[in-house]
Symmetry: C2
Subunit: 138 residues, 2 copies
């Protein structure tokens, strides 16, 4: 159990990290990890749930996909401090970049307070074209 993670979580995390900077859907993971013994969606979703809970991956709502946390490194394991960063997402190539901006975090805090909602989670995604795709023809 690499990193002290259960086998399936380790498999999924390794796969997501091997695609660092991109996002994969649950079924893409299933297809890639079928040979490694993961045979049903449930298996994948359970692993994803565990990894989300301990902050090692993030869900990208606008893609229904998942990406390894750019700040969770080998040694962190279970104790990694979870965060909810903003993301820039490329519709063309699936590139995903975490955007950690203190000013954004601050203003989101203010907006949340004013909203009268007890905010438990944030979804902040800037969707468009990454530099490469914006420059490319077509």
């Amino acid at each position: 159990m690499r990193d002290g993670l259960p086998r399936n979580q380790a498999l999924v995390l390794d796969m997501l990290r091997s695609d660092q900077g991109r996002a994969l859907t649950a079924y893409e993971l299933l297809a890639r990890l079928g040979p490694a013994g993961m045979r049903g969606p449930q298996t994948i979703y359970r692993a994803l749930e565990g990894l989300l809970k301990c902050g090692l991956i993030h869900r990208i709502e606008s893609l229904n996909a998942f990406t390894a946390c750019a700040h969770a490194h080998e040694g962190h394991g279970y104790g990694h401090h979870t965060h909810r960063p903003a993301f820039a997402v490329c519709r063309n190539c699936g590139a995903v970049r975490e955007l950690d901006d203190p000013a954004l975090a601050a203003v989101l805090g203010v907006v949340a307070d004013r909203s009268g909602f007890a905010v438990q989670d944030r979804v902040i995604e800037l969707v468009g074209a990454c530099g490469a795709c914006a420059a490319a023809p077509g």
Copy 2:
């Protein structure tokens, strides 16, 4: 064709407006509008696509659901200026509130510029409990 909208778009928009401040999924709309003659998901999704395009409704990514724009009024029709506001979303009761905050818009602009992405769309959702649900027992 109310508001100059095609029949199905008008049906969907009326239904969403009748649930102002909440979000409905495509299949909830289908169930409610079946009696009015909308019989397949495709019919609903086509209407939603048209309404999204002219800014009369918004999609809530964290709910896979849709809500009438709080600022689109009777007279606006096709020409309504589209915007991509932030939302506060209640997980418990489905309440949705548009949050229009100039400071947030400004800082998002800065973050987008810095990201190196050509941002085409934004998903900004604060997910939690609305005031009523936060106060309620259970």
